[in-house]
């Protein structure tokens, strides 16, 4: 996809974030439902949306800044580093989660341990599925 189109899509996503955020703040007020969780989440969505629009404006202020951003995002070394960091994060999560599951089981928090185990299984499953799909495409 053309980088300018990518930026436009990001702008639309930011607008959706703001609309969603405002809706999550305003709707509970109209329903006279004091839902702190929804309004906090809505506030977070709105802030992320505003920050992304600000970022879009900074990137698109000149041709030079668009070009610089495009290079920064497509730079093969940055992509390599990000991919390696994701791999380390994934591996670290599996190890830490395994230790936490053992501790939780010993402390008799089996429900929480079960939820964490499910997230580990899900991550491993997604990893193998992704590996299978990517290896077939490459």
């Amino acid at each position: 996809m053309d980088f300018r189109k990518k930026l436009k899509v990001r702008l639309y996503v930011a607008i959706v974030y703001i609309i969603l955020g405002l809706a999550m703040i305003v709707i509970p007020l109209f329903l006279k439902n004091d839902n702190n969780f929804a309004s906090s989440l809505g506030f977070a969505f709105a802030v992320i949306g505003i920050a992304r629009i600000r970022q879009y404006k900074l990137i698109t202020k000149s041709e030079d800044s668009i070009k610089k951003r495009e290079i920064a995002e497509s730079d093969e070394r940055s992509i390599f580093i990000a991919s390696k960091a994701r791999g380390i994060a994934f591996f670290s999560y599996i190890i830490v989660a395994a230790l936490v599951i053992i501790v939780l089981q010993v402390l008799n928090y089996s429900q929480v341990a079960l939820i964490i185990s499910a997230t580990v299984c899900f991550m491993v499953l997604v990893y193998w599925l992704s590996y299978l799909i990517i290896s077939k495409r490459s």
Binding site: I71, A72, S74, D75, E76, R77, S78
Partner: protein
């Protein structure tokens, strides 16, 4: 994998930023290539060699293990 990027750049009076802009990477990537901390992909190696009007083998020195 060693390379002659730094020498070629100096010979032709090219800055790291000029080379980075020409091949579509960041200056940091050129620095890492010159320091031998990062190995270029075949596409990037081709772009760099083309920039200096040389072949990949003339720019990058492959060391057999």
């Amino acid at each position: 994998m060693e390379n002659r990027i730094k020498d070629l750049r100096k010979e032709q009076n090219v800055t790291q930023q000029d080379l980075a802009d020409a091949v579509g990477v960041t200056r940091q990537t050129i620095i890492s290539l010159e320091n031998g901390k990062y190995n270029a992909s075949i596409q990037l190696a081709h772009k760099i060699a083309k920039y200096f009007s040389l072949t990949i083998e003339q720019v990058f020195i492959f060391e057999e293990e």
